[in-house]
């Protein structure tokens, strides 16, 4: 009988990483399908806000907007913002799922197995982006039902979709970092609220120049305003200006920060 150690399959090949990521993605999508409550809330919250702003406040706000209301009235102005809110709302589900994984024992099991470690996180990120895409479609469908009519051409709409998916990708990495850094699922569900609230202090509902000086300064320079202006311009067929470039830059910065932070936290062993 030989005591030689059998040669082991290499664990860091690209093929293996992809296969393991696909396995993890299947796991996360199965979670989402079996427990649709989290996904449902990231659709319901934006839809309720949409109904509230269009149905209750719409007429008053449109009067305040004057000529900037286009594409079917106030709903044309507010829909791009609502769509972004639905992207931000998906963060909660992601960070809670990641936190449940790392605070329970399952990630320790994965870490002691000869698998591509990055697959645990990429599975979460891909799963979340897919879920966000689904809620984007649903929220947009509700907006169209309520009278939202995008202008411009389909190529620009495709650009808007690409931008939104890029934002979803960036915010998901941030949510993964939050989930990895949270002590328990409760705080993992509370911290992303900051991300969710940011669009409210942007040009999502009213233009930034209608706000008091301090708030206006914040609203003008925060990333969501760029993204909302870019999405709005792409969907309504107005001039995009520097908004698309600034949005892409913001997304890349957020994604990189989230990715590097997550990799550092995930690589660091958790004390017993």
């Amino acid at each position: 009988m030989s005591t030689a150690i059998p040669t082991l399959p290499p664990t860091r090949t690209v093929g293996r990483t992809l296969a393991d990521s696909a396995t993890m993605l299947r796991r996360n999508l199965r979670h989402a399908l079996r427990y649709p409550a989290m996904t449902a809330s990231s659709v319901l919250v934006p839809v309720i806000i949409l109904l509230l702003f269009v149905g209750v406040l719409g007429d008053t706000l449109r009067a305040g907007l004057g000529t900037r209301a286009s594409g079917g009235g106030y709903i044309g102005y507010v829909t791009p913002g609502i769509v972004l809110i639905s992207v931000a709302a998906s963060c909660v589900a992601t960070s809670v799922a990641v936190c449940v994984d790392v605070t329970g024992g399952i990630v320790d099991r994965f870490r002691t197995m000869p698998i591509a470690r990055s697959a645990v996180l990429t599975g979460h990120v891909l799963g979340s982006v897919i879920q966000t895409a689904v809620s984007l479609v649903l929220v947009t469908a509700v907006a169209v039902l309520l009278g939202f009519r995008p202008a411009g051409n389909p190529l620009r709409w495709l650009g808007a979709v690409g931008l939104l998916l890029l934002l979803a990708f960036a915010l998901t990495w941030l949510a993964v970092l939050i989930g990895l850094s949270s002590r328990n699922p409760e705080s993992a569900s509370n911290t992303p609220l900051i991300i969710q609230l940011l669009p409210f202090v942007s040009s999502a509902f009213v233009p930034a120049d209608a706000m008091p000086a301090g708030v206006r300064w914040f609203a003008e320079y925060q990333p969501f305003t760029e993204l909302i202006e870019a999405t709005r311009a792409l969907l309504l067929g107005t001039a995009v200006g520097h908004h698309v470039v600034a949005s892409v830059a913001w997304c890349l910065v957020i994604a990189l920060a989230g990715f590097l932070g997550s990799r550092a936290v995930f690589g660091r062993p958790r004390a017993a």
Partner: protein, 319 residues
């Protein structure tokens, strides 16, 4: 399952050290575990048992010393170690949102067993760990003992050479505990090497070939259960009497006995052989003394544990 050459230890630890923020958790631990054997790492809470397992399972890196599992160094060849081990920790490492079968298939997929073989292996393990009835229900609804069996089944999907069980039965009821012991015995019968941590002495006694007592980050004793039991004072008979008068009369019959006025009892040294017992009873009958209660105490691992662990006995224990 291939049994390794018994002369090559499946697990070899030399001068292992680890501290967390200045607090020493493992202090110069040296330990070998022969292939196909079971070592119980016994110690009170905070003795460093879990830290030891986490280092061997490549979840933590040591501050000093060397550790090899199945011939692979845990620091320089972690992937080699990971391919050879299975770990069942204190935290339940199962996916609550999936069914039992899906959990096993998930692990099989991550081990690249292939779709057909993965499913076959999952079904086999569900059967073997007595999980078939609950296989297709969500794990979130399962009891603690069943979850722990699934946890162990997931650990076994890849047929590991070395299995780490970190307090596998903590929090389980006696029936579930016994069921898990039976499963562990089967693994051992197939040649799997097991490192088990526990603070249940009965568990170590039941499962382990050798026991290492860990206290304050140091191995304070190592040997078979029988060897460890020889380290502590021998057995005794405990006699309890109805009142202080009878106790005094009995004490006069047994000059070597230790008297306890509070519980009205007498500890007579001696093993549990029938000869000793008969002699004691004869002497009591001759003196016409009635015994309210008699019990026989053989030294058990409890005595060993209490004698060896705790700071008061540290000097004696390490000598």
């Amino acid at each position: 399952m291939i049994r390794q050459n018994p002369s090559a230890p499946a697990l070899s630890v030399a001068a292992l050290r680890k501290s967390f923020g200045g607090r020493t958790v493992l202090d110069d631990v040296t330990l070998d575990v022969a292939a196909g054997s079971v070592l119980a790492l016994l110690g009170p809470n905070g003795a460093g048992k879990t830290t030891m397992v986490r280092i061997l399972a490549t979840l933590l890196s040591p501050d000093g010393g060397r550790a090899q599992v199945a011939g692979h160094d845990v620091v320089t060849e972690p992937d080699g170690v990971r391919a050879a081990i299975g770990v069942t920790g204190q935290l339940s490492a199962v996916d609550d949102l999936l069914t039992g079968r899906e959990n096993l298939v998930l692990v099989a997929d991550l081990l690249h067993l292939g779709r057909v073989e993965g499913r076959r292996r999952a079904a086999e393990l569900l059967d073997r760990f007595d999980l078939a009835a609950a296989a297709d229900t969500r794990v979130a609804t399962w009891s603690g003992g069943t979850r722990r069996r699934l946890d162990l089944a997931m650990t076994m999907v890849g047929r590991p050479q070395v299995v780490f069980l970190d307090e596998p039965t903590t929090g389980l009821d006696p029936r579930s505990r016994r069921a898990l012991w039976a499963v562990v015995r089967e693994l051992v019968a197939e040649g799997t090497t097991v490192l088990l941590t526990t603070h249940y002495l009965e568990e170590a006694d039941q499962l382990a070939d050798r026991i290492a007592v860990l206290d304050g980050g140091r191995i304070v004793a190592e040997g078979t259960a029988a060897e460890l039991k020889r380290l502590v004072p021998g057995g005794h008979l405990r006699l309890r009497f109805a009142d202080a008068g009878v106790l005094a009369a009995a004490a006069a019959c047994f000059p070597t006995a230790v008297r306890d006025e509070e519980t009205l009892s007498l500890r007579v040294p001696g093993d549990a052989g029938t000869g000793v017992l008969r002699a004691v009873l004869d002497r009591l009958e001759a003196a016409a003394i009635d015994v309210a209660e008699l019990s026989v105490h053989t030294p058990d691992l409890d005595d060993v544990f209490l004698a060896l662990t705790g700071t008061a006995n540290r000097e004696v224990a390490t000598s």
